[in-house]
Structures are given as structure tokens and as C-alpha cells.
């Protein structure tokens, strides 16, 4: 299966969309906009999983797609929007690292992912290896987002975007056992992270969810 055949092209298109949305996540300043883009990425992930289910004839992937859509495109973004309204976070948040440098670092990471994955997977089917390169890029960009953002909600979005890349990799490898179970387990973790942000806020322990404020509690002073 190569370029020019429908299953391959659509899988590529969806994977490429996810990567593009990862870049958009990287340069957005507004917290609300970041949540919207994350919802879009979740929806594309669901479409990619469903497409792989169709191409591979693996009906369990439809379940993965359904769960991804319900949680990542609907529920989590909804919860984050409520949180943003409650916290009054509509202002822009400057990344710790600057937009320009983080975009350059992002491009470098994508190049790294391609250089790492393509040569060593030469024996695998083309659809799997190029999907993996895209998925690894999404994972690395999610990590970069977690590094460059200091705001807790944006870090959580980075973690969730990273996990989107993981699910993309898992559905792209034909015949991978336990995909539904593994993706659900990963999702449970994300739901708890989001719940954690909620709980901290409800208790009003911190005035903001800027993690730099947490540092003074480290207790290393004599």
C-alpha cells in the first residue's frame, strides 16, 4: 500500500492534521483557544482511529474512536471551559520560552522523529511506519508544549496532546493487542489529572494555577 491509494492517503491526511494541530497548540497564547484546538485534535484522532478500524477490518478500533471522541472532543474540553470561566483565565498566557524559538524547536523535533523512525522501520509496511513518524512527532510536540508552558492547564493540555500521539501510534500498528484497554487506561489517567486541577481549584488552595507559585513549598531550607 503506497501513495495514491485511498486507505493510505486518508490515514496520512488525518495524521498530518493532528501534527498541524499540535503546531497550532504550540503557538497559541489564549487559554480558551488552546482548549478549542485540543478538542479539534481529539476529533481528528477519533476519525483516524475509526479509519484504521475500517482499513484493518478491526471493529474494536471503532470503540477506541468512540471513546476518544466522547472524552477528548466533548467532555474534557467542556470541563476545561467551565474551569477557565470559573478561574477567569481568558487573558493570554505568555509561554516561558517564546513563540519563535518553540516553533523552531518543534520543527527540529519533527525532523528528529522522521529521521529516527523511517530508517529503522524499513521492513514494516509503509502505512505503519509513516503513521509512526507522525505519531512520534505529535508525542514530542506535546512534550515540548509541557516544557514551554508554565500554566497548569496548558501543561495538562500538553500531556493530553502527547497522549493523542500515543493513541495514533497504537491504532496505526495493525493487530496491536489490547488497544482499547490501553487507550482507556491512559484516558482514565488524563481524566484524573483534569479532576485534580478541578479539585485544587474548588478548595482554593492557590490563587492561580501557575506552577511557579508551587516552588516555595519545596522545603529545602534549613
Amino acid at each position: 500500500m503506497t501513495f495514491g491509494q485511498l486507505p493510505y492517503d486518508v490515514a496520512h491526511l488525518l495524521g498530518g492534521c493532528m501534527l498541524l494541530l499540535s503546531f497550532v497548540l504550540l503557538y497559541q497564547r489564549g487559554v480558551a483557544a488552546v482548549v478549542n484546538i485540543f478538542a479539534a485534535q481529539g476529533a481528528v484522532l477519533a476519525a483516524a482511529a475509526a479509519w484504521q478500524g475500517f482499513v484493518q477490518g478491526a471493529p474494536q478500533l471503532y470503540l477506541t474512536a468512540l471513546i476518544a471522541f466522547a472524552a477528548k472532543a466533548v467532555l474534557i474540553p467542556l470541563a476545561l471551559r467551565i474551569l477557565i470561566r470559573r478561574l477567569d483565565l481568558h487573558r493570554n498566557v505568555e509561554p516561558a520560552f517564546g513563540i519563535g524559538p518553540s516553533m523552531i524547536a518543534g520543527v527540529a523535533l519533527v525532523a528528529l522523529a522522521i529521521l529516527v523512525v523511517l530508517p529503522i522501520t524499513a521492513g514494516s509496511r509503509a502505512i505503519a511506519r509513516e503513521d509512526l513518524a507522525l505519531a512520534l512527532s505529535v508525542v514530542l510536540l506535546g512534550m515540548l508544549m509541557m516544557i514551554t508552558r508554565r500554566n497548569a492547564i496548558l501543561q495538562v493540555v500538553g500531556l493530553m496532546s502527547l497522549e493523542n500521539g500515543l493513541i495514533l501510534a497504537a491504532v496505526g500498528v495493525a493487530g496491536m493487542p489490547l488497544v482499547v484497554e490501553l487507550s482507556t487506561a491512559a484516558l482514565v489517567m488524563l481524566l484524573l489529572v483534569v479532576a485534580g486541577v478541578f479539585v485544587f481549584q474548588i478548595r482554593e488552595r492557590f490563587d492561580t494555577v501557575d506552577t511557579a507559585l508551587l516552588d516555595p513549598h519545596r522545603g529545602e531550607r534549613p
Partner: protein, 481 residues
């Protein structure tokens, strides 16, 4: 429902059923007793593993490598439950926190058992994730700002870590995919190890990098260690004992299993040097960081980083002798470190502080506790005749024989760390005599039993290992390759 299960699954689900029961139990005393009861029953069942034939059954496997770790894990679970029963009044939990604490404790016990028992690498990943979630809950249970910061750090760093481990697991399947076809066997450790020789070495390399970074984060290897000192310093004291005693072992066990798969292919980049590199970095950084700690629990958390580094070096070297030293080191470290945390817990309650300067002069005021803590710290520092001396000696001789130039930084790290621990021992136990701040909590004498029991076992492990146990450990040392 539980009765029909095979023994390995029973060991996982018994604690989880206990966790559900404990989540419903609002009274302090019955909950603590039920916690002890569930832990004791789990330990008894775990002893039954010795009679189970080795090999994999479905998604689980029982072999010489995980039997000692499981037995030790459930033993520490029981002693920690006993310690916790004596200490729980001083934690001043409200009803909700009490239920969350006990449920998370047993939930964690079931998850670490599953992580050790799993043959399916996907299942192992899920188990380590559940253990992470339970430990986040245990660390955060007090809800104070430092506890929440520690839990948040644990959550985010280990969240990224286990995400990368999942990616490594996916790559592992990708490598084996042409040979196993569809079905659950594609993630079985035994199948993967057998097929590794035919797999693409490049994909195996990539898988190992992600598995090492992912599970290495949970094992607290430098530079992925940042969550560990905070987590061990902020939760309830009994949690530090299970975190350093069990969670780190479960994570390192996952790294060892991954190494066994990758090393089975002659064409891969050898995984050993990566482990040695991370291990040496952990030992050296921790050795110098130990000198700058003022908080006793943070101090011993850094010591856990150092000991995990030593075990990682041993498994990185490979071969029967070094693997045996590494395994002995994991077992000895769990015993001695949880003994230290039991002693430290009592001391910190009496002085109402966990700063080293505030606990000074313990032997003068509480001879029994003071000497117990002093001996436990000596054991953690690697003094003879305890298990950590035997394993460090074995590791150093093996290192001198194979890469003598690496034994210089290794020896330096071990010496600097040991002297830092002896310095702290001197401050805590023999230093200037300070009066108790808090009135004695009236803890009965039996709450010190776990401390002395661990020291006795560490002594047996170091000096007079029974023949059957020696044979088991020797068989285990052959597994990682």
C-alpha cells in the same frame, strides 16, 4: 467470585476487594485492623506462589525473578500496615481522608503485585499506571499545599514517563508483529523474548529507549528523579515506606524485563551501558545531594535514588554474579529503607518535625527507638553485616573485574554517600540531646516490631541465606541475561 481465580490473580484482586471494603469503612480502628488483615492474608497467599509451577499462565507469569520481589512486597505491605495502625491517630485524618488513605494503600498493593506478575507487557503498563494513580492519591491525602505540590509533580512527571513507556510497548509489538500475527501473545514477555532474535534490531533499540526513559522515571533514575524526594517527604510517613520499598522495585523490574527482551537480539545496541550510565549518574548525584539535605525524609528519599542507581548498574553489567548482586540490592534496600522510615516516623512524631536538626539526640531520650534507627541507617549506608553490604561488595568486585576504570566513580559515589549517611546517623541518634516537643503519643511497644523484623531479615539476607532462597535468587539472576 474470588475463590475460582488462579492464585496470581487472587493476589491482585484480594487487595482490590479489600480497597473497596476499606473505602466504605469510616471508623479508624476497624479500618486499620482490616488493613492489617487483608495484608496478612495477601502475604499468606503469596507464600503459596512457591508451590505454583513456574511459567506463564495467560496474562501472568510466575518465575524466580518475581517470586522474591512479590514475597518481599507483601511482607512490607503487612509490616507497613502494622506500623500505620500504630501511627494513624497521629495523622489526624478526617473520615474522607481516612477512607481514601486505606483504599489507596490496598489499591497500590494490588497494582504493584500485578506489575510484578504480568507476563503481558501491556498489562504490566496498566498495572504501573494504576500504582502511580494510587501513589498520587496517597501523597496528596493531607491536602496541604506542599503535599499537593508533591502530588502534582509526581502526577505530571510520571504521567509523561508512563506515556513514553506505552510508546515503548507499542514499538515492542511493532518489532514482533511480523512473527506473532494478531492476538494477545504479541505482547507476552516470554514470546517477545523468544522471538527477539528474529526481530528488527532498530525497532527494538527504539522500544528500549522509550521503555527505559518511561519506567526509569518511575524507578527514580537520574535525570528523571525530580518527583521522588518531594513525594517521599510529603505524604503520610507509612507511604514513604511503600513508595521506596515497592514502587521503585516494580518499576526497575519492568526495566529489567525490557532489557531481557532487547538483549536477546545480538544485533541491537547493547542496553547494559545505558543502564550503567543512568545508574552512575544517580549514584554520583545522590551522593553529593545527600550532603545538602536538612529534611530527614528527603535525605532518605535521595538515598533511595542512590540505591536504585546501584541496582541499575548491577543489572546493566549483566551476567549471573552482577544480576544476583542487583537483585539482592533491591531486596535489601526495600527492607532497610522501610525500616528507616518506620524509625523515622516514630522519631518525627515525638519531635513534631522531620528536620534532621530537630530530631537530634534520639538515643539519649528514646534508647530503643534510637538504637533501632541507628542500626537501620547503618544498614542503609551499606555497613556489614547487612544485605546491602553483601550486594555492594558483590557489585564492586564484579565491576573491578570487568571494567576497573568504572569502579573508581562507583566507589567514590558509594563512599561519599555512606559517609553522608553516617554523618546523619550521628546527628539524628547521638547529637545534642533535645527534649520531645509533642507529648509521647503512647504508641505501644509492638509498633517497633516491624523495624526490628526488617533488620533481622536484612541480616539473614546478608549473612546466612538459606539454601533454598539462594537457589531461587541464583535462578532469578539468570533471567535478565
Amino acid at each position: 467470585m474470588l475463590l475460582g481465580m488462579p492464585l496470581p490473580w487472587l493476589l491482585v484482586f484480594l487487595p482490590w476487594v479489600g480497597a473497596i471494603a476499606l473505602a466504605l469503612l469510616p471508623k479508624e480502628r476497624p479500618a486499620a485492623l482490616l488493613n492489617i488483615g487483608v495484608s496478612a492474608l495477601s502475604l499468606l497467599l503469596a507464600l503459596g506462589l512457591l508451590a505454583v509451577p513456574e511459567g506463564e499462565q495467560g496474562w501472568t507469569r510466575v518465575d524466580a525473578l518475581n517470586i522474591p520481589l512479590l514475597l518481599l512486597g507483601f511482607l512490607i505491605g503487612l509490616t507497613t500496615a502494622i506500623f500505620s495502625a500504630g501511627d494513624i491517630a497521629a495523622e489526624r485524618f478526617d473520615v474522607l481522608r481516612l477512607r481514601a488513605y486505606h483504599a489507596a494503600f490496598q489499591g497500590f498493593m494490588g497494582a504493584q503485585a500485578l506489575a510484578l506478575l504480568a507476563d503481558n507487557m501491556g498489562l504490566m503498563w496498566v498495572a504501573i499506571e494504576i500504582a502511580t494513580l494510587a501513589s498520587v492519591l496517597m501523597v496528596a491525602v493531607h491536602g496541604t499545599p506542599p503535599a499537593i505540590e508533591a502530588a502534582w509533580k509526581l502526577f505530571i512527571l510520571c504521567g509523561v514517563g508512563i506515556a513514553l513507556a506505552l510508546l515503548g510497548t507499542i514499538f515492542l509489538y511493532l518489532a514482533a508483529q511480523p512473527f506473532v500475527g494478531h492476538g494477545d501473545s504479541g505482547l507476552s514477555w516470554a514470546v517477545l523474548q523468544e522471538l527477539a532474535g528474529q526481530c528488527d534490531p532498530g525497532v527494538l533499540n527504539l522500544a528500549f529507549v522509550f521503555l527505559l526513559v518511561g519506567y526509569g522515571t518511575k524507578a527514580g533514575l537520574v535525570p528523571l528523579h525530580a518527583w521522588l524526594p518531594d513525594a517521599e517527604a510529603e505524604g503520610p510517613i507509612s507511604i514513604s515506606a511503600v513508595l521506596s520499598g515497592l514502587l521503585l522495585n516494580a518499576a526497575l523490574h519492568a526495566v529489567i524485563r525490557a532489557k531481557a527482551i532487547v538483549a536477546a537480539h545480538p544485533g541491537t545496541v547493547p542496553p547494559g551501558p545505558y543502564l550503567i550510565g543512568l545508574g552512575l549518574a544517580s549514584v554520583l548525584l545522590a551522593a553529593f545531594a545527600l550532603w545538602r539535605r536538612h529534611d530527614a525524609r528527603r535525605f532518605f528519599a535521595w538515598s533511595s535514588i542512590q540505591h536504585m542507581g546501584l541496582a541499575a548498574i548491577a543489572f546493566g553489567l549483566g551476567g549471573p554474579a552482577a544480576n544476583l548482586a542487583g537483585l539482592l540490592h533491591m531486596l535489601g534496600h526495600s527492607l532497610c529503607k522501610s525500616a528507616v522510615f518506620f524509625g523515622l516516623g516514630h522519631a518525627a512524631r515525638r519531635r513534631a518535625s522531620q528536620k534532621i536538626a530537630d530530631i537530634s539526640g534520639l538515643i539519649a531520650t528514646h534508647p530503643g527507638l534510637g538504637w533501632g534507627l541507628a542500626i537501620a541507617i547503618g544498614a542503609v549506608a551499606g555497613l556489614p553485616p547487612f544485605a546491602l553490604f553483601a550486594s555492594e561488595y558483590g557489585l564492586l568486585t564484579e565491576m573491578v573485574g570487568r571494567h576497573w576504570w568504572l569502579s573508581l566513580p562507583l566507589g567514590l559515589g558509594v563512599l561519599v554517600a555512606a559517609s553522608a549517611k553516617l554523618h546523619t546517623l550521628q546527628l539524628l541518634c547521638f547529637g545534642e540531646r533535645l527534649p520531645d516537643v509533642a507529648p509521647p503519643p503512647g504508641a505501644p511497644a509492638w509498633t517497633l516490631v516491624p523495624l526490628w523484623l526488617h533488620l533481622a531479615l536484612a541480616l539473614v539476607l546478608g549473612m546466612a541465606l538459606p539454601e533454598a532462597a539462594r537457589a531461587l535468587l541464583a535462578a532469578a539472576a539468570g533471567i535478565p541475561g
